[in-house]
């Protein structure tokens, strides 16, 4: 059975992430991820890392698709500037950066909440 909390976190971060990225700076998403972590209070705080990571990566990937232009060689040139070889590799790196941002701050939020208000342990029966 799928756990609901990580899925909810993923969905909120995906939709919320798109909105905050369109409206503000990159760190707005970090704050959003933190707040989602605080709000959802998962049993295991680290379980939200995946949700935050995949949502963040997907949000940045969507951004790449929205703003990329097949006619421009700029991503390739930026990839060369950062010694990454190709625009494809650069895209993967960007997604990882978006993912780490989402995952890390979501987990930080969850741990903050856990310190204040620990979740009840689920006991296997």
């Amino acid at each position: 059975m799928l756990r609901k909390t990580p899925i909810i976190a993923f969905c909120v971060l995906l939709i919320g992430g798109l909105i905050v990225h369109l409206l503000g700076a990159w760190w707005w998403f970090a704050i959003l991820a933190f707040l989602v972590g605080v709000a959802l209070r998962p049993t295991y705080p680290s379980s939200l890392f995946g949700s935050g990571f995949f949502a963040g990566a997907l949000v940045w990937l969507i951004g790449i698709f929205i703003y990329s232009s097949g006619e421009s060689a700029l991503p390739q040139q930026i990839a060369e500037l950062f010694s990454l070889g190709s625009a494809f590799v650069l895209g993967i790196v960007l997604c990882i950066i978006g993912g780490i941002t989402g995952g890390l701050f979501c987990v930080l939020g969850a741990y903050s909440r856990a310190l204040i208000q620990p979740a009840a342990k689920v006991v296997a029966t």
């Binding site: 703003y67 701050f105 741990y111």
Partner: protein, 821 residues
Amino acid sequence: MPNTRPWTKFFVVLLLAVGWGLLLSFGVSLGKTKTPPLGTFLNPYEGFYRSVDTDYWEDVDGMSSGLRAAVDIVYDERLVPHIYAATESDLYFAQGYVQAQHRLFQLDLTARSAAGTLSEVLGTRALALDRFRRRVGGIQLAKRIDSLWRNNSRAYEAVQRYADGVNAFIAQLEPHEYPIEYKLLDFEPQAWSPQHTALVALNMAYTLNFGNSDIAATNTRNLLGAQSYDFLFPGANPKAPPIIPPGTGYKASDTSLIQASERFRLGGTPAGNADQIDRLGIVQPEEGLGSNNWVLSGSKTASGFPLLANDPHLGLTLPSIWFECELHAGTLDVHGVSLPGVPGITIGFNENAAWGVTNVGHDVLDWHRIKYTDESHSAYVDQDGQTRAINFRTEEIIVRDGGTVQEIIAETRYGPIVVDADANPDDSRAGLAMEWLTLQRPSAETINAFLSLNRAASLQDFRSASELYEWPAQNMVFANATGDIALRISGTLPRRYPGEGRFLLEHDAPNASGYISPGDNPMAINPEQGYLTSTNQRSTDESYPYYYLGRFDDYRSRRANQLLAGLDQATMDDMKSIQSDSYSVLAAEAVPILMRLVKRPGLQLETRGLLEVLEDWDYVYDVDALGAVVFDRWINSVASSTWDELAQTTEDGPSINFPETWRLVELLDTDPLSPWFDIVATDGRESASDIVTAALVAVGPDIANAYDGDSLAWAHENKPGIAHLARIPAFSKNDLEIGGTSGTLNAQTGSTGPSWRMIVSLEQPVRAEVVYPGGQSGRPGHPHYADMIDDWAAGRYYAVSLSGSPAAFAKTKHTHLKAAP
């Protein structure tokens, strides 16, 4: 026992998150460079991906607020804008807006370079240049020019409306829309003003008329003695034909300097030890700069109408130094290139005439040694014996990530004292004042000269326009549809005593003041030979009544005259082949001499092979010319060995002038036993033959090893490339496969070359073919960022003609934009 694990995990995650946040919030140092804040730069929603937009230029809504009537802009396939406005006022506003759309970073950086404010964005690496340019006083000059413009309605209207257009574009920019360089360097565009236009002009003056060798010449003469110096440095190559054909009459409304020449020679020959003031860190113009232009009268062309060609050779950059556009307003219809930052067209044609420019190259910068009255260095004794105070001012240079630097600037009557303790630890202010015509003569009219040329039709129009022009002095060629051709040395030229300006001027050396009357500038109109040409060679023959000096071309002029004189029924294709001509007169002259002098017995097989390569070489610097590599390295090695007396003093010593190559070739040919060929470090007495042979033996193995079987030998030796303005490698284009060298008409060096090739046929309607090494868009990665380079490298051109109205363009092939108030 309390459970510490949640706290531990929290702090670990907190630490990671904070670290990650800081990493993304600030730049990271990678060697000598620092990245922009990575979170902002890499985030696709606000970072570099937002600069990927290739249709940015289609948005002209921001123009509306500044226009007085509607403006049409039609972009052609190369992204060349054709701007149609009701008035010149709206035209220059739209030109400013459009150029800012495509070249905003270039505008910014060019103005900062001249002003001495690069450190604000580039940090300490630009500080030395900024300090020097602050001492020169670029900002003050720009203010003086601006105030002159304010009293000159025509010029002011153009530069102010242009600035309004630039600012209208900047005003509607969101940070995520900034060109990529702003994001990489993490700074914001600065508002534009007429002063910035003046700074762009000053930047061109730094490129074209800042060259000077007075200090090195003084050092060299002190080292060699006057007699040897005059022997090795006799002036311009006498074989190079002057720009103005001999026999052309000259006006001389002022002969006082000629009569005073004896006084100067006897009384005030400047000398002095310039060693201690040598390490100035003064940025000299790039080597290899040079340009070609020529006009053929209808009697030499197939069409019966004049042909005009121009290819200014400048430092090649991306984005290009030029921006091509076509301007229409009322009766004004003109096509050509402009300098981003300056309204109007700089080189181009209209429906009646065409014009082009090359650099005059006269020395207009002198150094005066200041005689201080005392140790305080606050006053000096002037040439007339009067004591004059030195004016001091302090400027603050903001250095990115490095606080501010206070720069104290000292001004004399001649100009700024630019040498200080940094240049010379032994003397807190060595006291060298720089007298530069550009500073002495703030120009309000130069912009009007170009605006007038944009409308010129008759010879009188050309003459009037070119007489408005002040600096940097240019050889302007002109042709019109009625069949006239002309060439005028245009610009303000200093009056000089004969010999004045060759060396550092001692404080009591007489120096002439003032300028040659514009009416006395050399000019040729419709000469019998049927053509006129300039390739930066000396302006006139000895019959010109005014003294001038400078660094002049020695070989291209000979080739140009040879080719043009032989033309009959000339076509545009003939013009193209001349512009791409890579035949070296120097090589043709020098190789037979070297072959005559070299001692073949005893040479190794591979070295003999190089001689065979040279024997088969046609003296053309093609991309694959191994002969060009052999000759270039060989003659350079011969020069090093011959001038060993000078070379040994330059290691950690003062700067020295080396004799020009033509003088070396002349010596090799006429005086092979000259003592100059003796190598100081040996006991024996070497001759030219010994030097030439030893030089070949020295360079031979390297050439054989490096270029065996190389089909691009010369291209690999010359390494031509086009660097991004901020020297960002990923935005540059290197390893171009093109021929040419600095002494050929196709004057291509590693970093300089033909920056704009234009050929205009003055038939009706006027038609032209053009190309430049770059693209219209200044935005890296854009399809039009570097799209013309391949055609330029291959010697291909684009046909252009004036379009009467926006409706003349096919809707399907062009983009029509309209902006209305």
